[in-house]
């Protein structure tokens, strides 16, 4: 053991100098072992968030420059809006991929972000029918299908996908509503999506097993 004769304190740590007075430590015994360091040694870490921040900075700068150029040339904002939406899309995808979550949740989020991104681009270029007619309903169908497969394959942990399934099936009713309000030009993808979501939702509500009733209770406890 080491000792600081100025502070009258013993040390059970491999320090050369006293923490309190910075004086040199002495061994208390004539033949003494160096006290062990009982923690993991820290090494220099690189800032993992630097590249994300740099990427985010570039996205903001490029968006600002394109909006400025559009504005200065007296043009409509369609071109700069596409840049802004694409940048936002890239940042969200980056965040989703780097987030600590299950891969299935990541795939679902990416599908939904992509669907919303294409709708926004559709609005920016003044032609959103292709995204509302095809991409949005098929993204939802793909999502419900994916969760259904995961639920069947991973029966033991089916409840892990329960909340996602409920949310996505409710969103899946939206294409039907858009079709009803005449926002779509092609009806069948929205109809398929609406029907598939409705059937899934009805199955969740009307075919409850004891365990799914329990899951409802857990997820919706107030």
């Amino acid at each position: 053991m080491k000792y600081c004769k100025t502070c009258n304190v013993h040390y059970d740590a491999p320090l050369e100098h006293c923490l309190l007075c910075n004086g040199e430590l002495e061994y208390t015994e004539e033949i003494a072992d160096e006290p062990a360091y009982k923690f993991k040694i820290i090494t220099k870490k690189s800032s993992s968030r630097f590249w994300y921040r740099f990427f985010f900075f570039l996205a903001v700068v490029s968006t600002a420059i394109t909006i400025y150029l559009d504005y200065m040339d007296g043009l409509s904002l369609s071109w700069s809006l596409i840049v802004a939406i694409t940048n936002l899309y890239a940042v969200l995808i980056f965040r989703t991929l780097s987030a600590a979550s299950q891969w299935s949740a990541k795939v679902m989020k990416i599908l939904m972000i992509t669907a919303v991104g294409t709708i926004l681009i559709g609005f920016a270029i003044g032609d959103y029918s292709w995204s509302i007619d095809y991409i949005f309903p098929f993204a939802i169908i793909g999502n419900i299908l994916l969760i259904s497969i995961l639920t069947l394959v991973n029966k033991k942990h089916w409840y892990d996908y329960f909340a996602s399934l409920i949310i996505i099936t409710i969103i899946g009713l939206l294409p039907g509503l858009l079709d009803l309000l005449k926002f779509t030009t092609v009806s069948w993808p929205s109809f398929v999506c609406f029907s598939y979501s409705s059937i899934t939702l009805l199955a969740i509500v009307f075919l409850p097993s004891k365990s799914s009733r329990e899951e409802f209770k857990r997820r919706f406890h107030v």
Binding site: H10, A13, L15, L19, L20, F39, E214, R218, R219, H221
Partner: protein, 426 residues
């Protein structure tokens, strides 16, 4: 019998932690045992997985409901890891197979780091004792449990009870208002590294000073000592408009006859106005004693429990979707949560181990994370460890604390996670 379909609502203390925890506010605390041999990783992992089914409140994962988070059963295999360099490091449960605690090994040390939403110090200590007991058993040692190891007792449903709810009394609610507190500030270490300084003292010597000289309890003594050191060592406390407020968590189990393994503690506080400049250690100790006696009253504690539970029972809060609650918790904690306390002191008391285990465990650590300075106390055998952790580079308060204990005639042995050369990195 191993169950797989249980679930729990989060307790009152745990409800806010999932929303407000992050890298520099991990809400994780550490308990470590130093044993008499190098820890075998595989056997430790076996021991944890053997004990887990008995500790239903630990074998859980945090799930999102529409209105509240909840704990669902977690049947994954638990994996132990090598201890990291950063103490009480924030971790994402999804990277830990959903578990809200970590078990580490490093040389002869077994460490349990627990996210506070899961349990408090008493619950975590019961778990670590059971893991270590089974570790020794699996290593082939004959250990008599002497009825001191929870995993060797039959499971009681009372261990999983939310005692905040069971002690809620609507008529005892009162308005809890807290003024903002003086904050310790300064340059922090990089990489969320936290300085750990352990002052090991002889318990008899400490009691001699505390009880005979000052007629106080150990917690009252260290609280007053910390307050006095902050008063002496900071330049901006006196004339600061905010009082110094030291929060001290109280284990509520003895007051309410509880054996729960879930959170069941509540803060009492020692408050010292900043407009005074005539403080001495003695008058600060008197103030501390009066405030502790006043607040450590069962009726007052139950009144505070009822007030806290009352918030979560508010119909508007209950029907608010979880996503909005999370935002509200984040804003509320940012505006108020951190600002109402200056620092904290947590005394876990004596670690009561079977004789056979006492011979094999040489030391114990209990550490908390937090802004400013967090102090913890834990006793085992003949010694008491007073552990101070801080993300701040300024060590003057810690220095003053140790110097004053030495002046009282207490022999102090220091251990630390600081190494010469760390200034280059941190």
């Amino acid at each position: 019998m191993k169950k797989e379909k249980y679930w729990y609502k989060l307790d009152n203390a745990g409800k806010i932690f999932p929303a407000v925890s992050k890298d520099d506010r991990s809400n994780v605390f550490r308990l470590s045992f130093y044993i008499d041999e190098i820890v075998d990783k595989d056997i430790l992992e076996l021991a944890v997985n053997k004990v887990l089914p008995r500790f239903e409140t630990f074998a859980v994962q945090l799930k999102n409901g529409l209105f509240w988070n909840y704990f669902g059963a977690n049947t994954h295999q638990f994996r132990v890891e090598e201890e990291p360099a950063v103490l009480c490091e924030y971790f994402k449960p999804v990277k830990n197979y959903g578990f809200l605690f970590k078990v580490y090994y490093l040389d002869n040390k077994i460490t349990l780091e627990t996210f506070h939403a899961l349990t408090d110090g008493s619950g975590a200590l019961a778990f670590l004792k059971s893991v270590t007991y089974h570790y020794f058993k699996l290593r082939g040692f004959k250990i008599e449990h002497e009825n001191k190891i929870l995993s060797e007792k039959p499971y009681s449903k009372k261990e999983s009870e939310d005692n905040f709810i069971s002690n809620y009394d609507k008529d005892k609610r009162r308005n809890l208002q807290e003024e903002k507190a003086y904050k310790l500030s300064g340059e922090s270490f990089n990489h969320h590294w936290v300085m750990f300084v352990k002052a090991k003292v002889d318990t008899k010597q400490l009691i001699q000073v505390v009880k005979t000289k000052y007629k106080a309890t150990i917690t009252q003594y260290v609280t007053a000592l910390l307050a006095y050191c902050i008063y002496k060592e900071t330049v901006d406390f006196v004339s600061n408009k905010k009082p110094l407020k030291i929060f001290v968590p109280v284990n509520l189990r003895p007051y309410f006859d509880s054996v729960t393994l879930r959170n069941f503690s509540l803060y009492i506080k020692a408050s010292y106005p900043s407009h005074r400049n005539d403080y001495t250690f003695e008058n600060m100790l008197e103030m501390t004693k009066e405030q502790f006696v006043d607040q450590l009253d069962k009726d007052k504690l139950q009144s505070r429990i009822s007030s806290l539970v009352g918030y979560e029972k508010n119909p508007i809060i209950r029907i608010l979707p979880l996503v909005l609650k999370t935002i509200a918790f984040k804003i509320g904690y940012y505006v108020l949560g951190d600002s109402i306390s200056s620092c904290s002191i947590s005394n876990l008391g004596i670690v009561d181990l079977p004789k056979d285990m006492m011979e094999k465990i040489s030391d114990v650590d209990f550490a908390n994370s937090g802004y400013g300075l967090a102090m913890t106390l834990i006793s085992m055998g003949s010694f008491t460890n007073i552990i101070m952790t801080s993300p701040l580079k300024d060590l003057s308060i810690i220095n003053q604390m140790i110097s004053l204990m030495v002046k009282e005639g207490i022999d102090v042995t220091i251990d630390t996670n600081y190494k010469e050369g760390y200034d280059e990195i941190l």
